[in-house]
Symmetry: C2
Subunit: 356 residues, 2 copies
């Protein structure tokens, strides 16, 4: 693994590049904004750890009122639990007796729940908890699109019966996460999508007599909070933000808090080349946004070519901040988060669940 690119007290210009920077003022403002808005409603906040994969950030979210965190993979759940997060929801399905056994082990020391949409999963989790002597919470996931989840009431009732007959499993309610709705551009589209999600999940909740429904991300959470159906939200990106989410609301409610800092390694009359390519900034939601006066001509694995559109070009050796198109997979490229306050490094945090 790469060694840490900075140490507390370093000036920004000394940070080894490429590096993932976290602007602590923006990060803290984002937590204060969302937690301040949602906690008074009584809806619980369970931030998604898939966005940051960083126990230090998870601890700060819990300290600011979150009930725990979500993980999207078994590896993330293991790492957050080991780091002392007391309540972890694996908001995804797992397959296989090996993974079920590992999750049942995690449940020995930490409150853990997991999603299901298939009788095989329930059978494997039941066997694993029986063997480990632990208890796992279970949420039946409702399909909101073409990803995972049960399609209707009958399937959900069959799973609920099966869960009810397993001593080590405890049915906690439903997961209803409208993933594709997060990135719809207009408020009307998002409102319609969450109304459809509510109409899909509500009859299943009622048939099960469930009282708990978890879901909702950064793009739509005010709608779920207002709906009366959801009792818990799972926003991840709000602490970090990215260019894609910034297009959803004008002005964005959250500040851009992560950046990829790169250094100019080659200068030319029309362009500069910096030392961060798509191994340092994910492209699945588009190219990164460069500073004013520059445009992105192209990226390769280790380089971004920036055209000089106006003003003086950045000098050889100077640093440039890129705003990622998508925060989650960009964080997953980095082993370290360099937490900065103004121009000074305040701390350096391991992205412990990177790759997990």
């Amino acid at each position: 693994m790469r060694s840490a690119p900075a140490a507390p007290g370093d000036h920004l210009s000394e940070v080894d590049t490429p590096a993932l920077l976290l602007d602590l003022d923006a990060f803290e403002a984002n937590i204060a904004r969302l937690h301040g808005e949602v906690l008074p409603t009584g809806v619980a906040i369970r931030p998604h750890g898939k966005a940051h994969k960083c126990p230090e950030i998870a601890r700060r979210q819990v300290a600011a009122g979150a009930v725990g965190v979500c993980a999207q993979s078994l590896g993330e759940a293991e790492i957050f639990a080991r780091a002392g997060i007391a309540d972890v929801l694996l908001s995804n399905q797992i397959a296989g007796a090996d993974k079920a056994a590992r999750l049942a082990d995690v449940a020995g020391a930490t409150k853990v729940a997991v999603c299901v949409d298939d009788p095989h999963q329930v059978a494997q989790l039941a066997a694993a908890t029986a063997a480990a002597g632990t208890t796992l919470g279970v949420l039946i996931e409702v399909a909101m699109g073409r990803r995972c989840g049960v399609a209707g009431v009958a399937e959900a009732l069959r799973l609920a019966d099966q869960i009810g007959s397993a001593p080590g499993l405890e049915l906690r309610g439903l997961q209803a996460y409208a993933g594709s709705a997060q990135h719809l551009r207009t408020p009307g589209e998002r409102r319609n999508a969450i109304e459809r999600a509510r109409a899909t999940a509500e009859p299943i909740r009622d048939a099960l007599g469930a009282t708990h429904v978890t879901g909702a991300g950064t793009g739509t959470y005010p709608l779920e909070v207002a709906s009366g159906l959801w009792t818990e939200i799972q926003p991840g990106s709000y602490v970090l933000m990215d260019a894609d989410y910034a297009l959803n609301v004008e002005p964005p409610p959250f500040r851009q808090a992560i950046f990829v800092q790169a250094r100019v390694i080659s200068t030319h009359p029309d362009r500069v080349v910096v030392d961060a390519g798509h191994k340092a900034v994910a492209l699945d939601s588009g190219r990164p946004t460069p500073p004013r006066g520059l445009s992105v001509f192209g990226l390769s694995d280790e380089h971004t070519i920036l055209l000089v559109e106006e003003g003086d070009p950045p000098a050889y050796g100077s640093v440039v901040r890129l705003i990622p198109g998508h925060c989650d997979p960009t964080v997953n490229l980095h082993d370290w988060i360099v937490a900065v306050r103004g121009d000074v490094v305040e701390d350096v945090w391991r992205v412990e669940a990177r790759g997990a």
Copy 2:
């Protein structure tokens, strides 16, 4: 970091998912094919370590006749040198006195060279080698497109003079790497591109009286080998291969050797969902190729949705192999390479330079 997803002797179906698999038979055939073709010509092979970031693979390439490896970042160069690779070319520019000092340190125990295209770089490398008491090889990079490199003879001569006056720097020749030519689809386009590259580099080589020119990748290396100009090639992808390179030549000269193995975690009448998304397979050169009978409906961070087009859908818990669109950035997402022979795990190798 994630713990190893498998152990020697495991059956493929036991490998923890998602996992990066290396088919050793294909990998060995690819080395035999390229090395067997090029070594008799007298042109040196310096495989690119940016593709695999794995010292174990680098050692096998050197054992099969490679003169050393290329690195694309200082971190990679440090890791390959520490792992015992005796001759490392950092085929890129670096900026800053800190990085120059680190590279000069590496040159204490290993034969190291680096590319330059700017007098600032030469000055920083000269100062760093003077302080460390070491010698660095230097290659002047020739611009082949809009990335790094000098544009012509005058610039190259000025850099050569500056290098010549620095006791710790040794001018070794030129780098001329036609990166964009690697992915041109027709033989004629690639031939024209390498002819243009030759026409750009040759006058600079002659003006400097240089005898060494390094460059060339998996997509074009037979052209550079045949040109009479290049004395060393830098192919990286040939050992691993990907869906993009497989489109260049029909049939492809190299076998597909890496795969992302994923597991079916959710089944539906029309589709299955597997536990590898774009945090496990890079999308910069398109979506991964699924097994026959399935098509990719979409990817999210941790999921790929596969539509069932024909035949029986894969069962819950079964494993599926995806062929990455682009090998280099896909490897960079993984901490481990699971080396398999047939259906059995033979070894598990650290991707030590991942993220470096």
